[in-house]
Symmetry: D3
Subunit: 227 residues, 6 copies
Amino acid sequence: MNNLGIVKRNITRADKAAVEKLSRFGVATIHEAMGRVGLMKPYMRPIYNEAKICGTAVTVLLQPGDNWMMHVAAEQLQPGDVVVAACTTDNADGFFGDLLATSFQARGAVGLIIDGGVRDVKDLTEMKFPVFSKAIHAKGTIKATLGSVNVPVVCAGAQVNPGDVVIADIDGVVVVPAAIAQQVADAAEAREANEGDKRAIFASGVLGLDYYKMREGLAKAGLRYVD
Amino acid sequence: MNNLGIVKRNITRADKAAVEKLSRFGVATIHEAMGRVGLMKPYMRPIYNEAKICGTAVTVLLQPGDNWMMHVAAEQLQPGDVVVAACTTDNADGFFGDLLATSFQARGAVGLIIDGGVRDVKDLTEMKFPVFSKAIHAKGTIKATLGSVNVPVVCAGAQVNPGDVVIADIDGVVVVPAAIAQQVADAAEAREANEGDKRAIFASGVLGLDYYKMREGLAKAGLRYVD
Amino acid sequence: MNNLGIVKRNITRADKAAVEKLSRFGVATIHEAMGRVGLMKPYMRPIYNEAKICGTAVTVLLQPGDNWMMHVAAEQLQPGDVVVAACTTDNADGFFGDLLATSFQARGAVGLIIDGGVRDVKDLTEMKFPVFSKAIHAKGTIKATLGSVNVPVVCAGAQVNPGDVVIADIDGVVVVPAAIAQQVADAAEAREANEGDKRAIFASGVLGLDYYKMREGLAKAGLRYVD
Amino acid sequence: MNNLGIVKRNITRADKAAVEKLSRFGVATIHEAMGRVGLMKPYMRPIYNEAKICGTAVTVLLQPGDNWMMHVAAEQLQPGDVVVAACTTDNADGFFGDLLATSFQARGAVGLIIDGGVRDVKDLTEMKFPVFSKAIHAKGTIKATLGSVNVPVVCAGAQVNPGDVVIADIDGVVVVPAAIAQQVADAAEAREANEGDKRAIFASGVLGLDYYKMREGLAKAGLRYVD
Amino acid sequence: MNNLGIVKRNITRADKAAVEKLSRFGVATIHEAMGRVGLMKPYMRPIYNEAKICGTAVTVLLQPGDNWMMHVAAEQLQPGDVVVAACTTDNADGFFGDLLATSFQARGAVGLIIDGGVRDVKDLTEMKFPVFSKAIHAKGTIKATLGSVNVPVVCAGAQVNPGDVVIADIDGVVVVPAAIAQQVADAAEAREANEGDKRAIFASGVLGLDYYKMREGLAKAGLRYVD
Amino acid sequence: MNNLGIVKRNITRADKAAVEKLSRFGVATIHEAMGRVGLMKPYMRPIYNEAKICGTAVTVLLQPGDNWMMHVAAEQLQPGDVVVAACTTDNADGFFGDLLATSFQARGAVGLIIDGGVRDVKDLTEMKFPVFSKAIHAKGTIKATLGSVNVPVVCAGAQVNPGDVVIADIDGVVVVPAAIAQQVADAAEAREANEGDKRAIFASGVLGLDYYKMREGLAKAGLRYVD
């Protein structure tokens, strides 16, 4: 049996307009708009603070210490794609550096999400190629064992299918299934509008206790004020 | 029995002059001035490098995945307070974001120390609302279960009582019991003066071995120089 | 028996020209030039992003919570040295701060690599004294138990002998044995030249698959393209 | 949008004969038979050494600190099922104890895999109810927020769909998709037969170098024997 | 200022009858009876599976790599006491072994809870001296720096005051403040009785959904059953 | 340059008599006898409680996810050897199982120390082949990249040279350089004799405070007894 060694060429990417709309919102907003699901684990951090990504996923399943599939993935990239790299085991080697970034950028990719390590961080920062990773590690990798490209993967605790929208900013990384991208974008828009109003209200000194009418619920739950 | 669901309204805050004086010193200095106690664990990190806090603690005991008590705490805040949020279990959800920060800031709070996650970090940075946390995580929280406000808590390994002074900077977070705040501030001042002198001495090439008269002690302990 | 309490005064430092040449290359390049060995674990991070070190190792073996040996090490420093501090057990206390940094800098040291904690990070950053550490921690240390200076140590998973060249940048920390410093520097130079060419090629859209002639190997390994 | 709060009642369980056949093999063998995929992370450990599970997955998506959905899942259990519980965030609370185990056992469930904590371990051991978990923790949970039952989940890094076969023993936990259960069972059987032969051969002193004919490959890769 | 170097000789131990009553219940039951507070973190594990402790706390605050205060604590022990050892920083050295255990046992101590390491585990197991620790580590410690005995400490995330009741079993470690020991014991007794009934009910096939009347609440929260 | 791909055939093993003598003592005793150095990190745990190893090291440097070198190492084994396997990066894959154990046992090896994962733990336990590892993991490995055999390695934080004596028991793993094996064995013997006496003394109620004459030192350090 062989569940590895597969490259799927034709994937259905999320609708471009939905991706564009999702790019206007932050990760926290989109995660809320989806009903509080879809987040990667918080150990995924940007290599520089301003890093921000919104694109359609080309997925890669790596083997530990081996970045062969990253090269295979490069050929499958289209403008607007983000590479989402998982690994068959926990491994923080430096699977990715400035040369692969140059190649990915030449294909129009907008960033990398990797449940592993990256290196050449100074170059990547200068190139403004955003990467969210588990680690920064100079450790080199080999090209010897097959993984897969564009199969469903689990990356940093989140299920990612090829073509899904992946959004990343300083708050983390969220995955929006392609099928509901437009719906989530609309929900995020509604939520965002609402937030702006709230900010002004809370700035004026109104308490969440009153604005959200929490006092009754708290009392019912048994909250006791003591002196 | 019910050890949760309590909000203490009247707490004794540390003396304002002592707080002001403590605000002039760094965390390392204050920790030394107290006899090397009172530090939180080093996983507590600022969300931006320049973040600095010195204020009187309003404590919150959270339940995992639930930020209801943060809203209850907001009402108890007075100018100069810092919210110190602990949790009944390890949990890195995003209990706090820009809206709560707006509310806290409107009440005069000077920052947040949370043994959990925060989100909306870009907004918080722009608002210059300093936060020290265990994680940055977009994960949303609910409002369903009671914790407490202004009870003694253990936050990141440190005991914090309501009204204690909490000082945070890039070196970490230290807690000064209200009762000894003035005494610690005085000790910190004495220590700081002393440090300035030392810096010049060491810059001139004098060794700590000589300045601190360590050579005899080292020899007595058996230190051997070999070629 | 006594394996501790030793200070070796005369150590053979790597050739100055080799050190100078190594200083021109990044950690990832040097690690590759050595055949992918010599790296410390990726938990070693710079206290500020621009930190960069290249120098000859003066090694220190610390005891937990005790920085006595740091003072002993100071006397052994020569211009161009980097202090590499290991500990007899896992410990993240703040073994090092601005006063020791002043002393080290006065002796000509170019930085510190420590498998432990540091403090006074704001001062160290202003002094431009680069430090790579496991943690930032205000926790103070004592001066009571002997360790050693200039003995072989294991620091963050890497073997370091006194006099070895240690190079550190945002990608991590690499150790080059003194005996092969020139050879590694030459190999790094060759590799770097080669990299520059590649960057332009990949920027033009050539794929690694073609440039490295990977297609045959991948097919032979059984890679299948599906639609 | 609402991705939570769903209970799927009719799921397609893997073929009973395939499950029975898979139950004869260990986790390592099955993982190899699948082409080295499908494993959960190694932090998943049995609560007692002899614990062994092979059953069809009823999946649960929990909220942190909340085990409401475990009760909902109980009703969906059929004889031979194993409950696979994931959580929307990292949380090690004690979601499961002897009462739920009694209920699960009464329904014919054969065990629990939980990316969280369990308690009442002494009782569970006496009941011979096998559990593989991330932690043992007495921390109690509430019943306040909806998760889901029988939706696809990511548990300890592995994708699990309802009805998949889950096998667990002292070597870890592996997930076999229902659709390939029979095929994997057959491959495992073939592999196991083969292993028995090998054990005798290696016991007689034959080296893997010779048995697997590795010497040529090693020489070609450049292996050098030195004295 | 000096917050360390203190030995409090006269402490108020929890009532003997309450301690005896608490010893009949498990950690999970007692934690629930207290309203779900008082637990140490789940990394605290017994050195052998059958280890069980119930006693009154003599607290120790250790310095990293230094077990001097363990000897000081020994003199303060009375029959029925359990030593609860915290440390001023994270440190897993082997602070405790068979000799100290012999000494503690000679004084009537019933066990040790230590947020650090222990060694001589084989001997401790044979002596049936129960220990719950963060680590097993052969690393030796020194006797050079003062900590304190019988001051309030934070051990594995829990506040412990001298004289509190500490109960430990395979589910973890829980701390009951001396002042409420009797009350908690009574609540635990009530809870336990209740549990026995429930076990039989669930064994008969009754679901928690029905027994706890959860269906209405779930429906109200929006739970949807789909096919 | 090529620092990998080397197999050293002729190594100098520690003196047999010294190894035999060291086998009589526990890890904690030997570590103390060496002056408190030589320990591996405490995450190294036995796969079964009774596991105990004392032998001469044949070292292996593995690549992540690749156990090719384990087979190369097998040929270098002599009766009484213990395999000490390090990896070029952090990796917990299952590098070792029952077949390699059979092969190692056939060559006379007495155990395995591996800074990685193992599998087939049930078989290994039945074979009574002792293994100390970082993890238990079913994850399979490949045979594609060269590492080395019988070169100096860093394993779980300890430097190990081929031929060194490695002793492992439930307290951890300690490495004794071949050159001082006899000296350490003698020191351990002296220490052990001494311990037996002490155990009886402490059992009689004598305090360490008095036996070790600590009271004066404590008083001098400033210890204060309060009521």
